[in-house]
Point group: C2
Chain length 326, copies 2
C-alpha cells in the first residue's frame, strides 16, 4: 500500500523505490527490476496527495467559468482541458456564475496549494475581489481580460468586433440596429456596447436600442427581442452578443410574423457550428473558442514555471461570417 511496504518487499530502502518511481537514472537494472516486481506484486499505487505535499506541486489547474452550459464556455473549457492534459495537468471546474461567494470557496484551493494556478472567465466587475483572493498566484483571465489588471489575459477585440458587426448591417441598408447584450457586469458586454454605439455614431444612425439578456439562454434572447419589438419604432436589424441569444431573437421575430432577413436582419456572435444550420443560416462573428482555452493554459503554465515572467495580454482574431440571416 505504501512505499515502505514496497521497499520491504523488494529488500531496498524507500529512497530507491522513490527513485524507480520517478525514473531516476542511477539505479542498477537488477535492483530496479526487483522494485518493479514488488510494485506489481502488491499493486502499489502512489499516494499523490503525499507527493504533492512533499513537492508542493499539484499539477492541477482551477477553472472558474461563468456557466458551463453556455456553449461558448464549454468550448473554451474543452480547449483548456485538452491543452492542460497535454502538459500533464488536470483541471478543477467551477461554475461560478460570477458569484463571489462560490468563487471564494474554490479559491481556497489555490491558497491551500491544491491547484497550481487559476484561469477565470469572470465578469470584470469581480476582478478586484478576485485579485485580493488570488494574490500573486499564477492567474490568467480568459475572454474577459484587461491590461489594467494583474494577471495575464487572452481575449478578442470586442470593441472592434462589435463595430464590424454594425458596419456589416449598415452596409446592407439597415437603419435601426438594435443590440441584444449580455450581463453588463461583463467587460465583453461593455466593450461590445461601446463598439455598437461608436459605430452608430460614425454612421450617423440616430436610432438605437439596447436590451440586456439576463442569462445566455435562448429564452432570454426571446424576451429581449419581445421588449425591442414592443418599442414605438421597431428595429430592422439585431446584433446579438451570442448565437444562443440570436436563436431566441429569430424565433420571436417569427412569432411576430416578421421575416428574417427581409423584415429584420439578425447577426449573432460566437460562431457555434449549428449557427450555420439554422433557418435561415445565421450570420455571426466567429471567435476562436477552443484556441482561447488553449492559449490561456499556455500562458498560465508559463507563469507557473517562471513566476517572474512578464504578464501577457493577448488578443486572438475574430471573423465575421456573413450568411442568410443578414
Amino acid at each position: 500500500m505504501s512505499i515502505e511496504k514496497v521497499a520491504r518487499l523488494a529488500g531496498v530502502s524507500t529512497a530507491t523505490v522513490s527513485r524507480v518511481l520517478n525514473g531516476y537514472e542511477g539505479v542498477r537494472p537488477a535492483t530496479r527490476d526487483r522494485v518493479l516486481a514488488a510494485i506489481a506484486a502488491c499493486q502499489y499505487q502512489p499516494n499523490l496527495l503525499a507527493r504533492q505535499l512533499r513537492t508542493s506541486k499539484s499539477r492541477m489547474l482551477l477553472v472558474l467559468v461563468s456557466n458551463i452550459i453556455n456553449p461558448f464556455c464549454s468550448r473554451v473549457v474543452s480547449g483548456i482541458e485538452a491543452e492542460a492534459e497535454a502538459h500533464g495537468y488536470h483541471i478543477l471546474l467551477c461554475n461560478s456564475d460570477s458569484q463571489t461567494q462560490r468563487e471564494s470557496a474554490y479559491l481556497t484551493l489555490l491558497s491551500g496549494k491544491v491547484v497550481d494556478g487559476v484561469i477565470t472567465m469572470d465578469a470584470i466587475s469581480n476582478l478586484p475581489g478576485l485579485r485580493q483572493m488570488i494574490g500573486d498566484s499564477p492567474w490568467v483571465q480568459c475572454a474577459e481580460g484587461h491590461a489594467d489588471f494583474a494577471g495575464s489575459s487572452v481575449t478578442i477585440d470586442n470593441l472592434q468586433s462589435a463595430r464590424e458587426a454594425i458596419f456589416h448591417l449598415a452596409q446592407r441598408g439597415r437603419q435601426r440596429i438594435a443590440l441584444i447584450n449580455g450581463d453588463p457586469r461583463y467587460l465583453y458586454a461593455q466593450q461590445r456596447e461601446l463598439g455598437y454605439r461608436s459605430a452608430l455614431a460614425e454612421l450617423n444612425l440616430s436610432w438605437s436600442g439596447v436590451e440586456y439578456a439576463n442569462e445566455v439562454e435562448c429564452e432570454a434572447g426571446y424576451a429581449a427581442m419581445e421588449r425591442l419589438l414592443a418599442r414605438d419604432q421597431q428595429p430592422d436589424a439585431i446584433f446579438a452578443v451570442s448565437d444562443v441569444l440570436a436563436v431566441g431573437a429569430i424565433h420571436c421575430a417569427r412569432q411576430h410574423q416578421l421575416h428574417v432577413p427581409t423584415d429584420i436582419a439578425v447577426l449573432g456572435f460566437d460562431g457555434l457550428p449549428w449557427s450555420a444550420m439554422l433557418s435561415p443560416p445565421l450570420s455571426t462573428l466567429e471567435q476562436p473558442m477552443y484556441q482561447l482555452g488553449v492559449r490561456s493554459v499556455q500562458l498560465l503554465l508559463q507563469r507557473i514555471s517562471h513566476p517572474r515572467s512578464p504578464l501577457v495580454h493577448e488578443q486572438l482574431p475574430c471573423k465575421l461570417v456573413a450568411r442568410a440571416s443578414s
Copy 2:
C-alpha cells in the same frame, strides 16, 4: 504560513490552533480569540493538501465526461457541479472522449487519493476497463448505466423512450422511419436502436434505416442524413438521438428541397431549450439532464460516506414533447 507559526504567534500549541481551525468546542474563548487574532495577523491559509493527506479525505469528485461540448453533457455536469458544491465538494473534470488512455491518466487521481469518488458518463464498452482501474472505490455511472456492472447508476429508460419516439412518428402516418444514432459503443445508442427495431417490428413497418453519427455535432447529423437520403427509398421520418444531430438532419433535408415536416418528419432527443425555437420547432424526447447530474452526486456521496451501502440503479423519467417538426 504554517500552523506552527500561528501557534507561536498566539503563544499556544499547534494542537490548539488546529482545534480552533476545525471549530472544536473545548477551547477557552480567550485562547480562541488569541488564535483567531494570530491567524488574521499573518493571513494564515491552511494547507489543504496536508489536511487531506492527514485525514485521507479530499472532498473532490472526479467527473469523466465523454465530451463537454455536447450540450447534453454540459447540462449534466452543471447539475453535478451544483449538487457537489452544495455538499462542500469540488469537481475535477475530464473530457475522456471514452478513450481509455485519457481515462486511466485521470483515474490515477482516484487511486492516488486525490479524489474521493468518480462519476463517469462513459461508453458501456469501456466499463470492464474502468472497473479494473476503479476497483471498489465509490463510483456512479451516469446516463449510461447497467445493472450488471459494479457501480451505482442513474439513467433513463432508453429502450422505452426510443419506442415511444417511433410510435409517435408512426401514429402520424410515417412509414419509413430512419434512425440517426450515436456511437454504438455507447449503451444508450445500443438501447435506443433496440427500441427502434422492436417498435418497427411491432408496427409491422418493414422499412428501416440506421446511420451512425461519428460525433455529437450537427455536421455529423448532416452527414448521416446525406447518407440516408442517398438511399433508393428515402425515409419519411427521422429519429435522431440528439437534438444537435437533428439540427444537422433538418438542414440537410432543406438543402435537398425537402420540407419538414411535410416531406419528412424529424424527432430529436435531449430537449435542449433551443430545440423549441428552431424553425420548425423540434419535437424531442426531453431528458432530465440537470437532475441526472444531481442524482449521480447524491448516490456517490452516499457510497462515499457509507461504502457498504447497497448499489442503486435508478431511472429518471423522460417526456416526449411534440412540436411542429413531426
